[in-house]
Symmetry: C2
Subunit: 204 residues, 2 copies
Amino acid sequence: MSTYDGTLIIFSGPSGSGKDTVLNELLQKHDDVKLSISATTRKPRENEVDGVHYYFISKEDFEKKIDDNEMLEYAVYGDNYYGTPKAPVDKWLTEGKTVILKIEVQGAEKIRKMYPEALSIFIMPPSLAVLEKRIRGRQSEKEEDIIKRLSIAKNELERACEYDFAVINDDLDDAVEDVASIIKAEKLRYKNMKNIISEVKKDV
Amino acid sequence: MSTYDGTLIIFSGPSGSGKDTVLNELLQKHDDVKLSISATTRKPRENEVDGVHYYFISKEDFEKKIDDNEMLEYAVYGDNYYGTPKAPVDKWLTEGKTVILKIEVQGAEKIRKMYPEALSIFIMPPSLAVLEKRIRGRQSEKEEDIIKRLSIAKNELERACEYDFAVINDDLDDAVEDVASIIKAEKLRYKNMKNIISEVKKDV
């Protein structure tokens, strides 16, 4: 990733962690942070908009993109494909932007190998009780789907240790501020401040 | 440093960077951040209080502490000794606190070797013109002292590259917030969140 000046942030969290809410707030407050939009073959939930929350595409289209190497990573999760189109990510990084990849833990593992300088953040619920309450709060699902989702979420929590940072989403504002601090601290690393420091040292 | 849970922060910046003002603001806003107080043999400036800004001690006392291994590091700077008493730093780190060591660049180099997990932050002025203005603003010094101080400060700027983070102190509030973000991000590292994560995963 040495040719890029931007920072890639791998952003994961189980169902019920509230990672989407955290991300939405973060993006509203920080214009310079870009969200990579994933593609998926699953059906949109109520209120989900194509090209905003996901690119909702058919299984056939998804498989064609895989064949054409247009997916940075993809994973099969439940009965569906989830993946990250490559082109916009590389474009933003070259422009020096902070790019957030919201991906499942399986995908995160692959991205970490391709972009070793990426930072990874895992969003967690404050407790298992809250996790279950949040998952049950989505009234669109059948009991068997809820139980399946809960079981997957609990397994995913065990993989927090693979991430650089963990953020507990109890109070939304605090969680958003935590993520913003991680992004800001990265910008303040000496290696990312070189251009600014050159300006400081210029004799007038 | 694996036996410590706290974070050691090496904090440096040339004369005129405003590092003391940044630190004072930071400490007022963050009770959990502790400042390691240095010892020095130089005379106090106006408004400097013994045991608050420095421990002002005699050359003889300083040399005795060196002999007794009670100094974490020390350096001769100008005509004076500057050093860091070891005991309070280790005590705070064992208690899990964030401890800030405000030290000269020479001392920073030594601390970095003894505490490889320490983070280091370099505070910079926004420009050389501002640096000179701030140094000249201290009316207590003779012109030859000012010129000497300015020359040392410019040399120190060249060593920013040895630090993990660089913070430009143009607007004071922004600089304080930058340092706070660096400290917060470090607390959110997975390795520092292990205890909290164990609580999250407890079944009720």
